[in-house]
């Protein structure tokens, strides 16, 4: 009995333990360093509490997270709507692949951050350019993942459908698309993380709100704890986003539950 209970509690204990150890390590290091250089966990916590009650740049901290999230999700939605079908098409149809992939291969190595100047030039410093940067980052990942997923669909499964006289349309929707759901999901997760990273890059360049703005504000006001609060917020929101998608995958791909 104790053994079984122990087995179930073990992972949770390890997770909590490793987080506590990390904070403890941070505390110890901060004791021996200049507090302006590395603020202690306690000071960062106090700063977080303060930020929850005092607005920065006219908005409270949750509003800033909301601003960043809205940019990310807008871009992500567009990237999904445009990127997924494009990638699936490229993987399924040779003609489509031949037409799209040369252009795509050329644009792919350009990091999203490199798009910032041109995005500002085209869309101004307001929302448009930030959303665009996030869009570029997640779009590329979504296209690539759905494309490779489609390329690696087991031909045996397609043949099985063909042997029942499935039309091309049926082969696509009944076999190919579900077969690449796992790689689509991997793409959705990576794309969301990428969009979240890109929004910060975009906000660091020029924004009056958002999590990136908090970090810049902390730098301008010379408040290291504020910078760290911004960074930790980024980490927390990012991992919550990833966790929610993992949960969605488990709900939508039940046959993979045993594997994950």
């Amino acid at each position: 009995m104790i053994g079984r209970l122990g087995k179930r509690l073990m992972p949770a204990a390890l997770t909590t333990g490793s987080l506590l150890a990390f904070v403890a390590f941070w505390q110890v290091v901060s004791l021996y360093t200049n507090p302006d250089f590395l603020p202690s966990p306690g000071r960062v916590w106090d700063e977080a509490v303060r930020l929850f009650h005092t607005p920065v740049g006219g908005k409270d901290i949750l509003a800033h997270v909301g601003f960043s999230l809205r940019r990310v999700l807008t871009a992500y939605l567009w990237a999904t709507v445009l990127g997924l079908p494009l990638g699936l098409c490229m993987g399924w149809n040779r003609t489509c692949e031949k037409i799209v992939s040369p252009i795509f291969e050329l644009l792919r190595p350009i990091p999203p951050i490199a798009w910032i100047p041109i995005a500002i030039l085209w869309l101004g410093v307001a929302e448009g350019s930030k959303v665009f940067i996030c869009f570029v980052g997640s779009f590329v990942i979504l296209v690539l993942n759905s494309y490779t997923g489609m390329r690696y669909v087991d031909p045996l499964l397609i043949d099985a459908a063909r042997s029942f006289g499935a039309s091309r349309r049926q082969q696509f929707f009944n076999v190919a698309v579900p077969a690449c759901l796992p790689s689509i999901f991997a793409g959705l997760q990576n794309a969301l993380s990428m969009a979240w990273m890109c929004v910060l890059a975009a906000e660091l360049v020029g924004a009056r709100e958002g999590v990136g703005f908090i970090i810049i504000q902390g730098m301008d006001l010379n408040r290291p704890p504020m910078i760290l609060v911004g960074m930790i917020l980024i980490g927390i929101v990012g991992s919550l986003l990833a966790a929610s998608l993992r949960w969605a995958e488990r709900a939508l791909c039940p046959w993979r539950r045993e594997l994950v």
Partner: protein
């Protein structure tokens, strides 16, 4: 071929599939050379041949996965076509759909063929009973053993009531004990449903255990070298002298050296 008088096997049997002059070339390479034969309604036919004799090409032509160079395949007197006929295919590799449960795998072909929902349910239930997978109906293929997965595939193919069921060494990758078990199961389902089955194997013992009739293919370019009628009572015994004699005979005939 021969008349019913000299060929008693065909008496009272109706031709289901008629293959005429089936020829397949890959460029200059002649793989199948004017193959002629028929498969009778409700027959369990085995096709054996030496390795590399083009068994897979042969099946792919029959199932019309690849176009034949020459010749014709008639099902019930009409050129075979996926729109009219049901030609099912059990591959050598297990082709259960990983994201569908056992019961949905069985429904898969029926749904592709857009059968009425009530009919789909009726047939699915019947197949679940026939292959004895009722207990596992909500399992995913990954949760099953390889032999159970192959049974799911076999159920899925029998469910569409195929005009012709082609099986390409479906038990090739299973161990002997499971193979015996599944061979018996195949015979049981075939008898129960009266399906027409063409079973390709390189395992002569398996062919003699299953078949009513065996076609022996020659090495490339393949033709039908001989036809052997296996008229042994079932269940067949591997150590029955007649069984052994047939096995040795077919082995002798298959040799090309």
């Amino acid at each position: 071929m021969e008349t019913a008088a000299t060929y008693p096997y065909a008496a009272n049997r109706k031709t289901k599939v008629q293959v005429e002059n089936l020829t397949k070339c890959y460029g200059d390479l002649l793989v199948l050379d004017k193959i002629n034969f028929e498969i009778y309604q409700g027959e369990l036919l085995c096709i054996v041949g030496p390795t590399g004799c083009g068994k897979t090409t042969f099946l792919n032509c029959l199932s019309q996965f690849i176009p034949m160079t020459e010749g014709s395949i008639l099902v019930d007197g009409v050129p075979a076509s996926p729109e009219i006929h049901n030609i099912a295919f059990v591959f050598q590799e297990v082709s259960a759909i990983p994201w569908l449960t056992v019961e949905d795998n069985i429904r898969f072909g029926l749904r592709i063929k857009r059968l009425p929902e009530a009919e789909i349910e009726l047939r699915t239930e019947r197949m679940l009973d026939l292959v004895g997978l009722r207990k596992y109906r909500t399992y995913y293929p990954q949760q099953l053993s390889a032999s159970m997965e192959q049974r799911v595939v076999i159920a899925r193919n029998f469910a569409i009531n195929p005009d012709l069921l082609l099986m390409d060494e479906p038990y090739g990758q299973l161990d002997v004990k499971l193979r015996y078990y599944l061979e018996d199961e195949l015979i049981r389902i075939w008898k129960e449903l009266g399906s027409t089955v063409a079973f390709i194997t390189h395992n002569i013992e398996e062919a003699i255990y299953l078949a009513e009739r065996i076609l022996i293919l020659s090495p490339k370019p393949s033709t039908i070298k001989e036809e052997v009628i296996v008229d042994l009572p079932r269940p067949r015994q591997y150590d029955d002298p007649e069984f052994v004699r047939l096995r040795e005979y077919v082995t002798e005939r298959i040799k090309w050296w």
